[in-house]
């Protein structure tokens, strides 16, 4: 009885022209971990809201069909009653944490159910231990990092062991380490308590390996419903942009795609395309990169030399940022960006990425050292909506900047910026900071611009940034985006760069801050993208005179 059933569900938001969910039929069995995939606006969030009862009770609109969750019909039971059985986690942890301390937050839902103090205390302790946040219990929620807040939100949803959990892009604000940890914790909760888990995600490579089943949505319809392998096979044929990088790599080598790094590696080894760990053949692959860089890698290096010899667009000279009565956020950072260079700034939550960008744009003043730039530094912070204050798109930015970001069409000029999609808002905010063509920025800094973006929008952003002449530095948690966009990667830890080099060197050399292709191939040849990986393996096979 603890599963989820949708029967002919069609739902339209108030004032919307088209339904967000169309004739959805679905039966999720108790204990399943289901991943919901799809592009932006495909209906993922609406599906989750229908399960948690927010649709239609909170959002209104027109609802047809029936949703049954843990035996409760959502037409008769609102989200408050459903909360007895459903734990919900949203994308932004800051707005879902409602009390002052972590302990009170974990207890809040249990107390709302009228549970006895002893049961509340036990639920809090168990949730805290399960998520390894017991050391945070007495901390104020106002002083938690993004990752800690998201764990707290997850703990609040887990406390009391709900039979169903729905999570809407819970890892979008987390660094790769925290994101992987969160997915691991969800899998464990699923196995320990047999909870049904429904999770919507854009970065499928992160969670597909843990999933029992995948749903794909497009334009409000469920277009695929199957096991992860079946989904990847379907995505190969029908929706290539939903494929994970690992699946793309396998597909391009003619191998049936499988989810997860470990299984992909096994599939390659089974066919003799990847040497066993510790075998001699590994250096042969790696050697091809060290001695003569692979094609794609060589191309990246040649592009990175663009602008060398000219004055740097941005220079950090031994910059420190030390808080009054607090720690140092930046420690002796020295780096320079050449004109036209594209740099990805990576590192864990709290490593100092955003602070570094704020220094670049002059929003902060170094406590020691200095920042120089040859011209204006444009900074696009994490929330593009903060830049959008006017009533129409045309009022927000000059026409030349709107044209540069592709928002110069007839339909855009008179639209209200708040009505735009997430990707369009991002582009409009970029147009705002680009400004007039007569005074272009020498450097553009973007802070987590791909948060919550689907692959199509990320690709569009990477293409857009590649067309801009200025030096571009992007703080990101997304290694796939960094591989698609950057010439160079700087890895920050504890306020200081710990790696700074060619994108292939940095992203192929690690585990967490590495693309899925690099993780599958163990960093061989510096291959970062599926195309790089397939090319590398094919060349190795040609060298070894093996045919696929």
């Amino acid at each position: 009885m603890s599963g989820v059933t949708l029967q002919g569900v069609t739902y339209t938001y108030p004032g919307a022209g088209a339904p967000a969910l169309i004739d959805a039929d679905l039966d999720i069995r108790p204990g399943e971990l289901v991943v919901v995939a799809g592009g932006s606006g495909s209906g993922k969030s609406t599906l989750l809201r229908a399960i948690s009862g927010l649709v239609p009770h909170f959002y209104g609109g027109t609802f047809a069909g029936r949703v049954t969750v843990a035996g409760m019909d959502t037409r008769r039971h609102g989200p408050g009653e459903l909360a007895q059985a459903v734990g919900t986690v949203f994308q932004d942890p800051e707005t879902q944490v409602v009390t002052g301390t972590v302990r009170a937050e974990l207890a809040f839902g249990l107390e709302n159910r009228g549970q006895a103090p002893a049961a509340v205390a036990r639920g809090v302790e168990e949730a805290a231990l399960a998520l390894a946040i017991d050391h945070l219990l007495d901390r104020s929620t106002a002083e938690l990092s993004g990752g800690e807040l998201q764990r707290t939100a997850l703990g609040a949803a887990l406390a009391g062991l709900p039979s169903v959990m729905v999570l809407d892009e819970p890892t979008s604000q987390l660094d790769p380490v925290a994101g992987d940890e969160l997915i691991g914790l969800l899998r464990r909760a699923n196995e320990d308590s047999d909870a049904t888990i429904v999770i919507a995600e854009h970065r499928l490579e992160r969670c597909l390996g843990a999933a029992d089943r995948v749903l794909a949505l497009a334009a409000g319809r469920i277009v695929c419903d199957g096991a992860p392998r079946e989904f990847l096979e379907w995505a190969r044929r029908e929706a290539p942009n939903l494929q994970t990088p690992g699946a793309k790599l396998l597909s391009s080598l003619g191998i049936a795609p499988v989810p997860g790094v470990k299984r992909a590696r096994a599939a390659l080894r089974e066919r003799g395309l990847l040497p066993e760990r510790g075998e001699d053949a590994v250096p042969a692959l790696a050697g091809s990169a060290a001695g003569s860089p692979a094609g794609p890698v060589r191309r990246r290096r040649s592009r990175a030399r663009h602008g060398s010899g000219s004055e740097p667009a941005l220079v950090f000279e031994r910059v420190w940022h030390e808080l009054q009565s607090g720690p140092a956020i930046l420690r002796d950072v020295s780096l320079s960006l050449a004109p036209g260079e594209r740099v990805a700034l990576m590192g864990r939550n709290g490593a100092g990425k955003s602070t570094l960008l704020r220094h670049a744009a002059g929003l902060l003043t170094p406590t020691r050292g200095r920042v120089r730039s040859t011209g204006r530094v444009a900074l696009l912070l994490q929330n593009p909506t903060d830049y959008l204050v006017h009533e129409t798109v045309a009022d927000e930015a000059p026409a030349s900047a709107l044209a540069a970001v592709g928002l110069d069409g007839e339909g855009f000029a008179q639209r209200n910026p708040r009505d735009l999609s997430g990707g369009e808002k991002q582009r409009l905010a970029l147009a705002v900071v680009l400004g007039e063509r007569s005074s272009p920025p020498a450097t553009i800094c973007l802070d987590e611009p791909t948060r919550g973006m689907d692959r199509d929008h990320k690709q569009a952003l990477a293409t857009l940034l590649a067309e801009i002449d200025a030096a571009v530095i992007v703080a990101t948690h997304d290694p796939e985006f960094a591989a698609a966009f950057a010439h160079r990667v700087i890895l920050l830890a504890d306020g200081a760069p710990i790696a700074d080099g060619n994108v292939a060197e940095v992203l192929a050399g690690g585990s967490y801050f590495a693309t899925e292709t690099a993780r599958i191939l163990g960093g061989a040849g510096g291959a970062l993208t599926p195309a790089d990986g397939a090319e590398l393996i094919t060349r190795r096979l040609v060298a070894a005179e093996v045919t696929l």
Partner: protein, 286 residues
């Protein structure tokens, strides 16, 4: 300025005891007019804050209170027509008419200012040292939704401050002339409404809409609970005795009369009552 758990006797006491202690200090400040007793009370609050580990924030608030005192003194000397000792004759002023500044009005203004500072400090001590979630738990049996609304408002303050900072930073990143204040105000209001909608959705899915009256929660009284409750009784008793017996008497008009040594004794009693619970540092909550 938000509550953070610290290892202090006041933080270790239950919210009810902490709340009552702060209210007792506030009641004492409302009942006393004698400047010596009032200064003793302000010292009591500052000392309590220092012992609770929030002295820096309280000290900052006390400094911010200086302009409050100055403003109240200024207003009082300008509007009060009482007092016999004229120190400045300003003559006929527009709106105010004939204005003489008297020593009594200046002193009484200062007393009112000190009282305002004492009340502000009591409020800040409560904010910094009493767990709002425990207060919510305390009052939810009486009126859950009102208690939650109050707690949420407290919780939303730092979030909205952060939102405001973000908006300001984003506007600093815009090239060209900044948008008008009206435009920014409209954008800020839209942002607040978006936030409110998100929080409302979060409350819905956490079962707030069907929240039941929680069962009574009876925790054993700790030594700190008992000590702060005793302190509360002592502070209120000193305030009542001082008020009814005239030990801390003070009259400003028509001329200044204030109790001296007896007021000092009241101040000393207040200091002792307020500070004694901090002497016991056994069994502190981490």
């Amino acid at each position: 300025m938000i509550y953070r758990r610290r290892s202090s006797p006041l933080h270790s006491a239950r919210a009810g005891a902490g709340c009552a202690y702060c209210v007792a200090l506030a009641i004492a400040s409302l009942t006393m007019s004698n400047p010596i007793a009032l200064l003793g009370l302000i010292l009591s609050v500052l000392g309590a804050g220092l012992a609770a580990g929030v002295g820096r924030q309280l000290g900052r608030a006390a400094l911010l209170g200086v302009p409050v005192v100055a403003a109240i003194v200024l207003i009082n000397v300008l509007v009060s027509r009482n007092g016999l000792t004229v120190i400045v004759r300003l003559g006929d002023l527009p709106i105010l008419g004939h204005t003489d500044i008297t020593l009594e009005a200046a002193v009484y203004g200062a007393i009112l200012g000190l009282r305002a500072v004492a009340l502000i400090l009591c409020g800040i001590l409560y904010t910094l040292a009493v767990d709002p979630d425990e207060v919510l738990r305390l009052f939810r049996r009486v009126s859950f939704r009102s208690a939650l609304s109050a707690t949420l408002a407290t919780r939303m303050v730092p979030i909205l401050i952060r939102d405001g900072r973000r908006l300001a930073e984003a506007q600093r990143c815009r090239p060209g002339p900044p948008p008008s204040r009206l435009t920014l105000m409209r954008a800020a209001c839209s942002g607040v409404l978006d936030r409110a909608l998100d929080v409302a959705a979060a409350l819905e899915v956490r079962g707030y809409g069907v929240a039941r009256r929680p069962p009574a929660y009876r925790a054993p009284y700790s030594r700190h609970d008992l000590e702060f409750m005793s302190s509360t009784v002592a502070i209120v008793a000193v305030a009542i005795i001082a008020r009814t017996s005239g030990l801390a008497a003070f009259t400003a008009y028509p001329s200044l009369h204030a109790a001296g040594w007896s007021a000092a004794a009241v101040a000393a009693a207040l200091l002792a009552a307020a500070w004694l619970p901090f002497a016991d540092r056994r069994g502190l909550r981490p």
